[in-house]
């Protein structure tokens, strides 16, 4: 009886091992395989919000709202005013130092701010002549943006607030005077 040749044995062993290794690749595909993700949605670099105004107690409150970015302006009480920006998802980082800037026809300004745990960016200022002027600039229309590490929120285009905003501004001016 002839002994199998070493070559054949090696070949068989190789093929056997190869078969064993190839088995998984032959298994049916997982039914839960993740669908190919769509190309990442192009985040608009700028969105346009719409104004609304309110006077409540000792506060004058204005909002420029868009689904991707909302700015709230609160004047008073205590001679303070604040800007607060919120955006969905994670386009604003949590607990970071940021800068809130505005560019418009009336003027440009930049305020240091911070995001909180809920990823809302805010900056406050004294409601003096400068602060009042910043709000006035904002009411004239322009663009508000948040900048800083981890920020991917779009810029917010702020339309001219029109007569409603100019009427509301009287509330801000009263806060300054008081």
């Amino acid at each position: 009886m002839n002994r199998p040749s070493p070559l054949l044995l090696s070949l068989s062993l190789f093929l056997g091992l190869a078969a064993c290794q190839a088995a998984p690749t032959q298994a049916p595909r997982r039914p839960v395989a993740r669908a190919p993700s769509p190309p990442p949605a192009a985040t608009p670099s700028e969105v346009e919000g719409a104004w609304s105004f309110r006077i409540t107690g000792d506060r004058c409150i204005a909002r420029v709202a868009h689904e991707s970015m909302t700015l709230a302006v609160t004047a008073g009480p205590g001679g303070k005013a604040s800007f607060s920006l919120t955006a969905p998802a994670r386009s604003l980082p949590a607990g970071r130092t940021v800068r809130i800037g505005f560019k418009g026809d009336g003027g440009n300004w930049l305020l240091p701010g911070r995001t909180d745990a809920q990823r809302a960016a805010s900056a406050s200022m004294t409601l003096d002549g400068t602060g009042e002027g910043r709000i006035r600039d904002l009411l004239g229309g322009g663009t508000v943006s948040v900048s800083g590490s981890g920020v991917s929120a779009p810029a917010l285009s702020v339309p001219d607030a029109g007569v409603s905003g100019r009427d509301w501004y009287a509330c801000v001016a009263r806060q300054t005077q008081s």
Binding site: S52, R54, G57, G140, P159, G162, V163, S164, D167
Partner: protein, 599 residues
């Protein structure tokens, strides 16, 4: 006749004062005297100049829970010892000297007495301030006439060139005379079959009127000058009690009152009627009929003007009890009479809401007792814009702001804009606010001239009812060159909301206020968010005047959460707004108390 403390004047449309420069200055002076702690002010002016209306305005301005106001209309007198803190005396020329002395010697309180110029001499020995109410300035006439015509429903376009000047001259700048002459001039023009009301119609009306009063028609002033009215007041005998009205506050309108009601003692107006008869006799039937109709309508209108403007809208309230506590006037004791500081009032919408029926029945008496003192129309606020970066324009805006402020209007800080209009622009944003815009124009006539108020454009954000915007151009001399606005079909005003809670007179805990008071209502028709503007005012704050604590378009169509941190009394209402019709309708004010029971 006496109005009881904190009673409310009926502010019907045509009886609302038309502020002009002299009127505004007098009002300011009186309020300054009050603020300075003075005790006696004499408001002096010729007959028909608007003293009584101004007194009612002062009453509305000063009335508050802290300052009960008593207004005496026929110089009836009450003991100074029991008179309320603020005492307003119309027709004080009839008062006895002893009573005047009592007034002047009051160590507390504030008194305004009204009289013709001859009354001044009687006060010489008494400590007092004199405030004079003068006639219309020539610059004010155009705006005044425009507003009167609007209120009378007469077409301004019928005024020919020179008619305004003729009216001003014939009336001597006296608003009361002007009111009568406007209607009479239109009547004379109608009688003459003229579409235009020309200066000769004014002169004819003035002559007819002078004739009916027995005044010389030729070569003499066609309208009784103030001095003549002064002479009409007989000097009272010392300690004389008033027996009859002394001040001929309203001369009969050109004898037309003969057809309706002739004041006792007045000469019959036969000559005028004869003229009218003659005028009609020569005309065909159709013209006669229209002429007769015109006579009836205008007579009725003038009669109404006569009795609403000059007899005074206040209702006799019977015997007074000046010392009566405020809450005796009716539940709840929210005698919040003063208007919101710095706000004027828009005319109540023509289609007034059926508030009374809409309210729950227990609320109605309280509404009537207290709600009418707060504005029934929107709170008017003026926004001034000026070109950014032009110092001269900034000064103009500031001057205009001061001028309007002196006129008692609420004016915001002037606002710089990048794209100013080429000429002055005066905009209102709801049809109900057009009359308010006219008043603004009148008060700011120096800069606005004859700028026609227009329904301004609104963007995505609807302005608040009562907003008036004044846009100043870069150049001071520019005028509004835009073509007249096209007539637009007027759509009906929205229905008033039906307020549901909290109910009138409700007492809520202070804690509830901090958590938020839910104001709820039913908005008929449109129920979208943004349909309704909510206003909440605190009552009895600084100087007792209402203070705005919430104002904004409601987030929901039928409710609004309002957080209130301070105990006190509050009033609230809802204005339903129609963007399509550019109109609004306000509910009556409702009241509630936070954190304390009514005293």
């Amino acid at each position: 006749m006496v109005t009881e403390p904190n009673s409310t004047s009926q502010a019907a449309g045509n009886t609302a004062p038309v502020p002009h420069a002299a009127w505004t200055a007098a009002r300011r002076d009186i309020l300054e005297a009050f603020a300075a702690g003075e005790h006696l002010v004499a408001l002096i002016g010729p007959s028909g100049v608007g003293k009584s209306l101004l007194l009612r305005e002062i009453e509305n301005s000063l009335r508050s829970p802290e300052f009960p106001v008593l207004r005496l209309e026929r110089a009836e007198w009450v003991d100074a010892a029991v008179a309320p803190q603020v005492l307003l005396v119309d027709d004080a020329g009839r008062m006895a000297d002893t009573a005047l002395k009592q007034l002047a010697n009051r160590v507390v309180g504030f008194t305004v007495v009204i009289g013709l110029p001859s009354f001044r001499a009687r006060l010489e020995t008494l400590p007092h301030r004199v405030v004079e109410l003068g006639p219309l300035r020539p610059a004010d006439v155009a705006a005044y006439v425009a507003l009167r015509l609007t209120r009378m429903g007469l077409d301004r376009a019928r005024l020919a060139r020179g008619t305004l000047e003729a009216l001003a001259e014939a009336a001597g700048g006296i608003p009361g005379q002007m009111n009568l002459l406007i209607g009479a001039s239109f009547l004379v023009a109608d009688m003459a079959g003229s579409q235009e009301v020309r200066p000769e119609h004014v002169n004819e009306a003035a002559a007819l009127r002078a004739e009916s009063l027995g005044l010389p028609a030729e070569g003499a002033p066609t309208v009784a000058p103030p001095e003549m009215a002064v002479e009409a007041e007989p000097p009272p005998a010392p300690s004389q009690q008033p027996a009859q009205p002394a001040e001929p506050a309203a001369p009969p309108p050109a004898g037309l009152s003969a057809a309706s009601s002739q004041p006792p003692g007045a000469r019959p107006a036969v000559p005028l009627l004869d003229r009218l008869r003659d005028a009609l006799a020569d005309r065909p039937w159709a013209e006669r009929l229209s002429g007769v109709a015109a006579v009836i309508v205008i007579s009725a209108g003038l009669g109404w003007l006569l009795f609403s403007d000059f007899r005074g809208p206040s209702q006799p309230m019977g015997p007074i009890a000046p010392q009566a506590p405020l809450h005796a006037l009716g539940p709840p004791p929210t005698a919040e009479g003063a208007s919101v500081p710095g706000t004027a009032m828009a005319e109540a919408p023509q289609q007034a809401p059926q508030q009374a029926g809409a309210e729950s029945t227990p609320a109605a008496p309280a509404e009537q007792a207290t709600g009418a003192a707060l504005p029934t129309g929107a709170m008017v606020r003026v926004v001034i814009t000026y070109p950014r970066g032009i110092a001269e324009a900034t000064q103009r805006a500031s001057a205009l702001s001061s001028e309007l402020d002196r006129a008692g209007l609420s004016v915001g800080e002037p606002f710089p804009i990048s794209r100013p209009p080429s000429g002055p622009e005066l905009s209102y944003f709801f049809r109900e606010d057009r009359d308010a815009a006219l008043r603004v124009r009148q008060a700011g006539a120096a800069q606005l001239g004859q700028t026609a108020p227009r329904l301004g454009p609104v963007g995505t954000t609807l302005p608040r009812p009562g907003t008036i915007e004044l846009g100043l151009p870069a150049s001071a001399g520019a005028s509004d060159e835009r073509p007249p606005p096209a007539e637009e079909p007027e759509m009906p005003a929205p229905s008033a909301a039906i307020l549901s809670g909290p109910h009138d007179g409700a007492v809520l805990s202070a804690e509830a206020g901090q958590q938020g008071v839910t104001l709820s209502w039913l908005a008929p028709g449109e129920t979208e968010p943004g349909c309704c503007f909510v206003e909440v005012v605190a009552i009895g704050g600084w100087e007792g005047r209402p203070r705005e604590v919430f104002a904004g378009y409601a987030e929901a169509a039928d409710q609004q959460l309002v957080r209130l941190n301070r105990p006190g009394r509050y009033a609230w209402r809802v204005l339903t707004v129609s963007r399509a019709a550019r109109r609004y309708t306000a509910t009556p004010w409702r009241h509630f108390v936070l954190g304390e029971a009514p005293p």
